[in-house]
Symmetry: C2
Subunit: 466 residues, 2 copies
Amino acid sequence: MEQAIAYFTEILGSAHVRVSHADRLVYSYDGTPGYQALPDCIVVPGSTEDVSAIVTYCHNHYIPIVPRGSGTNLSAGTCPTQGGVVVLFTRMNQILEVDTQNLTMTVQPGVVTKDIHNAAEVNGLFYPPDPSSQAISTIGGNINENSGGLRGLKYGVTKDYVLGLQVVLPNGHVLATGGKLTKDVAGYDVTKLIVGSEGTLGIVTEATLKLVPRQEAKSTLLASFRSIEEAAKTVSLIIEQAIIPATLEFMDKGTIAAVEDFVNVGLPLEAAAVLLIEQDGKQEVVQEDMKKVESICRHSGAVNVTMAASETEAEELRRARRAALSALARLAPTTILEDATVPRANVADMVNAIEQIARKHDVRICTFGHAGDGNLHPTCVTDARNTAEMERVEAAFEEIFAAAIDLGGTITGEHGVGEMKAPYLAWKVGETGIEVMKAIKAAFDPRNIMNPGKLFAKEQRKRVTL
Amino acid sequence: MEQAIAYFTEILGSAHVRVSHADRLVYSYDGTPGYQALPDCIVVPGSTEDVSAIVTYCHNHYIPIVPRGSGTNLSAGTCPTQGGVVVLFTRMNQILEVDTQNLTMTVQPGVVTKDIHNAAEVNGLFYPPDPSSQAISTIGGNINENSGGLRGLKYGVTKDYVLGLQVVLPNGHVLATGGKLTKDVAGYDVTKLIVGSEGTLGIVTEATLKLVPRQEAKSTLLASFRSIEEAAKTVSLIIEQAIIPATLEFMDKGTIAAVEDFVNVGLPLEAAAVLLIEQDGKQEVVQEDMKKVESICRHSGAVNVTMAASETEAEELRRARRAALSALARLAPTTILEDATVPRANVADMVNAIEQIARKHDVRICTFGHAGDGNLHPTCVTDARNTAEMERVEAAFEEIFAAAIDLGGTITGEHGVGEMKAPYLAWKVGETGIEVMKAIKAAFDPRNIMNPGKLFAKEQRKRVTL
C-alpha cells in the first residue's frame, strides 16, 4: 500500500491523499449502524483523468476501491469493509451546464442534491428526485444508489432522470453513455445498469440529468385516521380516482408521537395513522385534485383533515414528515431504518405484518414512508450494545423482508443492498438472479476491485418461514 | 437439425413446428429491406416451460434462436441471418391481468400493442407507448426493441413502462425480475437491461407493465411553416414555455406531398414543414396549453394553423402523420426508413444536414418524425435493384449517422441496431462501449445462440468525414 500511496501523492499532490488514522476513521463508516472498517487511504481526485489513473493503478495491483459521496447511505454501501482506497468527490463538485433548450443539466458527482434542485429552479425547471438526505447527499451517491424520495409515485426515481454518464470502468477505461436524448436504443442500456449498481461496476465522473418544467402551484394537506386500514384505503381510492399526488406519505402512531415531541407542529397524537398529501401542477388542477383528495379522506373515515393555508403551513407539515427519522433517533441509542417495499395495494397488510412481527420479537418498530409507492420505512429504535435485543431485532427484520417478498414486494425500495442486505438479495431475485448479477459483475470487474463485498454475500440467509 | 426438429415436435406437437420451405420463406425476412435468410425451422411454444425446453435444447446443441413478434422491426433485428430456430408467440398472446389498484397490466409477449391500449382504456387507464406499428406489433417485440412512438417526449418509451419480466435465459433457466413496484433497488436493474436488448440476452415470456390514469381531454392542431428553421424554432419555444405536448410531430415538404397525394386531407403543399401538435390532460389545461401553442406557432411565422374542431378532424390529422411511411412507400419500389436522433435543440441543423447530404449523393430523402424528442425519420425512396443508386444511398446514410453523432445524437432512437446498424454502433458508444456490451453479451450468452449477429458486427464501418 505504501507504493500506492506514493503513486497517488505523485499524481494528486499530498493535499489530496489522506492517510492519518483520524482521516481513516472518518471514512470508516457511513449512515448505517453496526458497520465499520478502516480504509487504507482516502484520495480526492480533481478530474476524470485522476480517477482513471487511480482506478488503473488499483486494477493493476488488485486494490479495493470504494467511491463515496456524503456517506448518507443506509445499507453499508460505502463502508470500506475490505479496506483499500476510498475515493471522495469534494473537488469534482461543479454544475457544468444547465441546458434550458434540451432541459438537461450536466454535473460532476460531488454536487449536493439540493444544489441541483436550486440550479434547476432558478432556470424555471425542476429536478424531481428528492431523497430525504438531499441537503447533504451528492448526486454521485444518488446515482450509485438510485435514490428515491417522496415524489417517487408521480415522478419516479433518480434512474428516470439520468440520460447519460461518464464512467471510469474497473480497468481504468473511460466510458461515455447516453446523451441529451429522449430516445436512444444504440446497444444495451449501460446508463440504467450503472445507476443503482452501488459503485460495483465503475465510478461515475459526470452525469447528464433530465429536467422538467417547474410546476406553477402546490398544495399540501394532512389527514389523520383511526386505523391503518382507513389510511391505506384512502391511498387506493385517491389513485383509483385517477389522481396521482406528488407526495403521499404515511406515519404510524409511534412515529407521530416521536415527531410531535420533537417538532411540535400539532400532530394528532390520538390518530393511528396520518397521511401527508401534496399535489403540484397548474393552479386549477391542483385545486381540483386537492378538493377531491380532501373529500376522499373524509369519506373514508379521516378524523381530521388540515389543508395548509400558506406555504409556511405546508412547510411545517413537510418538516414533520422529514423529521421522522431524526425524531425516532432521539428515542434510543441505535436507530435501524429499513425500506421493505410492497405493491401499493398491499401497504395495509405490510404495516400490520410489521406490527405483528415487532410484538412477536418484543422490539419497538415505528413505521413511516411513501405510501403512494408502497415504499415503507419500518424503523427500529434499539441499542446496539444490548446483544440479546439486537438478535431479536435481526430476527424481526428477517421476518419483515420475508413478509414483503410474500406480498409481492422487495427487500429494498430505495436504500440499496450494500453489505447489510446482501445476505437477503436471493430472496428477491432468486438463485438465477444472483447468477445473472454475478455474471454482470464479473463482466465489468473480473478482479473484483470496485466496492467489493457489496450486493453479493459470502453466505445467503436461509428464508424465514412465518 | 433433424434431431432438433424431432425433439421440438415431441414437446410441442407437430402443429407447432413448421419446416416447409414456404413457412421458412415467410419468416426469412422482417420489415427491413435488403435482408433475407432462411431459418431451419419455426416453433410456436405455448408456455414458458415450452420456451425453456426449446432454449435448453438449442443451448446444448449450439443452435441459433431468433425470437420474433410480428416482424415489423426496421433494423433486421428479427431476420434469421444465421439460420436456426425462429420462435413465435402467437399462442402466448394473453392479457393475464389488469390490476386497477396497482395500475399494472401483466401480459404474454404475443399480445398486440393495440390490444394493450384498448385493455387499459376500458379500465379507465392508459398505456402510453405507441409505436406506429401498434396495430400489428406485439408487446414482446416492443420490449425487445424498446419501441418509442409519437408520445416519447411527454411519456417516455416502452422501457419506462416495463416494471417486471419473466425471461428465459440463454441457458434455459427462467428469471423473474422486478414486480408491481414503483421502487426496487434489489441488485442490478436486469429488467431495463433486457428491454431494448433485441432478443440477444434472453426470451421474454411475460411482462408486467405500468399504466397511468387515462387523460380526460385531448386537442390537436396542425401548423405549417415556410422554413424548417421556423418549425424547429417553434418546437423549442413551446418547450421553453414549460409546455410538454403529448405529440410534437414534424413532416418536411417531400413527406407532405406524398401524404397528401395518398390520403387527401388538405395538407398545405406549399409549406416547407408542418408540425402536428397534440396535448392531453385535464380539459382546462389542454385548452390553455393549446391556446399558447397556437399563439407561439403564429408568432414564429406559421402560415397556417388548423385546430381540429372535433375528434374526427383530429383523427384525420393524426392519420396524415401515421400515413407518412405508407405514402412514401408508394413513390418507389424500395423505402429505407432511418431514425437518426439528435438533442431537440439540434433538429433544424439535422434536417438541413439530411437535405444537403441527399443532394450531394443525388438520392431522394424525405424526413418526418418526432420533433419533440429529436427522433427523425429520414426516409429514402429508392430501388434496391439499382446497384449504383443503392451504393449512393448507403453512402448518404453513413453521412447522416455521422452528422447525428456530430450533433450530440445517436444512430438509432427507436428502431434498434439489429444487423443493419451493427457496423455503426461503435460510432455512438465507442470502442469502450462495444467492449462493455460484448462482455455483457458473453456473460448472458457465452455460446452466442440468442439472436446471433445482431448488435455486434464482424466489421465496424470506418467513420465518414463530412
